[in-house]
Amino acid sequence: MDWVTLIPLLPALAFVVLAPLSRAARAKLVPLAVAAVLGSLGLSIAAFLAVWPGGHGEVWQASVTIAHIGDRAITLGLALEPMSAIMLLVVTVVGACVQVYSLGYMHREDRIGWYYAVLSLFTAAMLALVLSDNFLGLFMAWEVMGLCSYLLIGFWHEQEAPRLASIKAFLTTKVGDLGFMLALAVVYAEVGAFDFATVLHHDWTAGTATLVALLMLFAAMGKSAQFPLHVWLPDAMAGPTPASALIHAATMVAAGVFLVVRAFPIFEASGIALTITLWVGLITALLAGLLAMVQHDIKKVLAYSTISQLGFMFIALGAGSSTAALYHLVTHAYFKSLLFLGAGVIIHAAHTQDMRQMGGLAKKLPVTSLTFASGSLALAGIVPFSGFWSKDEILAVLLHEHQYVAFAIALLAAFVTAFYVARLWFRVFTAPTQQEDLHEGHRSMLVPMVVLAVITAVIGFFGPTLGDFLGHEIPWPALGTAAISTVAALGGITLGWYVYGRRTSVVNTQALKQRFPHAYGVLANKYYFDLTYGYFVVGGYTTLARALATFDARVVDGVVNGVAAAWRSLSAAGWTFDGRIVDGAVNGAASAVRAAGDKVRTLQTGSVRSYQTLIAGAVVLLVVWILVKGA
């Protein structure tokens, strides 16, 4: 069964082949990347079928030791078991759809080769993350995906918005990754290993478990864009739409949820971590949903929708059911990526992302509108689409755990979800047409959408099967819960139709905005999160950096320059000293000698007689002296 290794390996090889090539060569080898992901899809289906009959439990495992710390070995490995098998299908199906779709969507793009290379690397990383049998490998794949997200968001780096958005995404998730690193450290200190088998069966004390769980939750919040680390996801829409479909709807953002699912025993060992998770999810789901109501950019609506739906998954986790969360993760992956791909076609057709300029696409883009409807209904939670089943499961769990407040909030969030979905659909598809030459998407774009739409429609019926597969029960929803959630969803859609869907606008949204300017302002400014972060975090950081730079320039450089200046003046003084005093002494000595010589020179009269006189005089004196002395 070692061919399971090929599942993440094929896309990785596609990246390795494409990355070092020139732009033109890469563009030619794009089919290779598509083939790789299709190969992984095939293998994933085979892997699923291999696991399917056995039911629960691990089917295959392989690991390699990468390091020794003391007498302990650190291993990385892959393991195939039901959870990973399901996730394999999700990732490869969505990944294959996206790659095929991109053939049409990115058709005219110059750097399409690099796009496919990074996409392949991402797919490989996500597959490795899902198959990983230990936290360390999960973390490494986690980081690689963060890098690919950065590269893809900032794909059109010639423009400013993608550049800034990619940095924002990377840094915000990096804040969360700090939690992950610290959690790994605590895990190692506590357990001494990273693999799931050892860690999850360890006897965790409530305190340590809470610490680890909260740290991992923090990481998951970053990656899955929960409040307050959600700010990067809307900006990440600056990247190519198919990339957003894969990364920011279906897979990468789901990795946070997946991490919590993997580490669920630790969460369960600490009761408080689950409560916090629940509330994080509730807040996110409701507030993000409200934000989605006021967006004009179609992709931003979907982005906030993703944040909100991820909140739902966190609600499920917080309520104690990792199975429900995983269920919603799977369904969400399919219908959200479908919605994004549809949005791509819409944007292509309308040449704009602003919904206020769209309208009447239903007639001109039939396939798109049908598939988009499938996804929209799933998102709203209308039976029989997949979203209904998974969302209902979450609500059921809440009720089961007697979390009535949470239930009410979640229901409200579901209502809001339905509302903004309706708003989007009516605006885009049934509002009066504003543009003339709208045309349907290319076949390469439509086929994946159809595939996803079909899956969205039917997968809901496999809920209990999934539950059996994973080992936890996912029962058919109780009639009461189903009724309540359906009422909420229909209510939202009706309201949406009432405001946006009718021929003549009864509700004047502009007047509403003017009547409640503060409420609208809060929503329009995204609860001032970006402003707050920008002011405090970024602003604080830049102020600190500037202060340090000033310190460096003034004080440090001042000291250095001061030392240099002092040295220079010292050497100047020394030079002066040398010039004046030393040279003065030397010159003085020289001139003294010359003066003396001048005086002595007068002896050289050149006159023989004076010489004679001197000599004679000297001799005479000498003689006299001798005589005097002798006497």
Partner: protein, 103 residues
């Protein structure tokens, strides 16, 4: 009174003094040379006197005087040749005329 060594020496000293005066004070080069000869003469006289009175057998002084004469002769020969050479250049034998070495 009897004449002895002191008288000879006194004479020689006087002659030498006169010659010294002449050598120092005359401006004419030839005259200076003549004064020098006078001084040399006085010296020779001294030597001979000592020889006669102190070492009469060995007559050392006389030999000394002979060689002194040789040197004086050489000296004056060269000196006068020098004077003539200078005269050819300078057209004068005044000592004051030759001051090229004035520093």
């Amino acid at each position: 009174m009897t004449v002895g060594l002191p008288h000879v020496l006194t004479l020689a000293a006087l002659l030498f003094g006169i010659g010294l005066y002449g050598a120092l004070s005359r401006k004419n080069a030839v005259h200076v040379m003549m004064s020098l000869e006078l001084m040399a003469n006085a010296v020779n006289l001294n030597l001979v006197g000592f020889s006669r009175f102190v070492t009469p057998e060995a007559i050392t002084g006389q030999f000394f005087a002979v060689f002194s004469m040789v040197v004086s002769a050489a000296e004056i020969g060269l000196g006068l040749a020098l004077v003539i050479a200078i005269y050819r250049r300078k057209r004068s034998v005044e000592l004051d005329a030759v001051q090229e070495l004035k520093g």
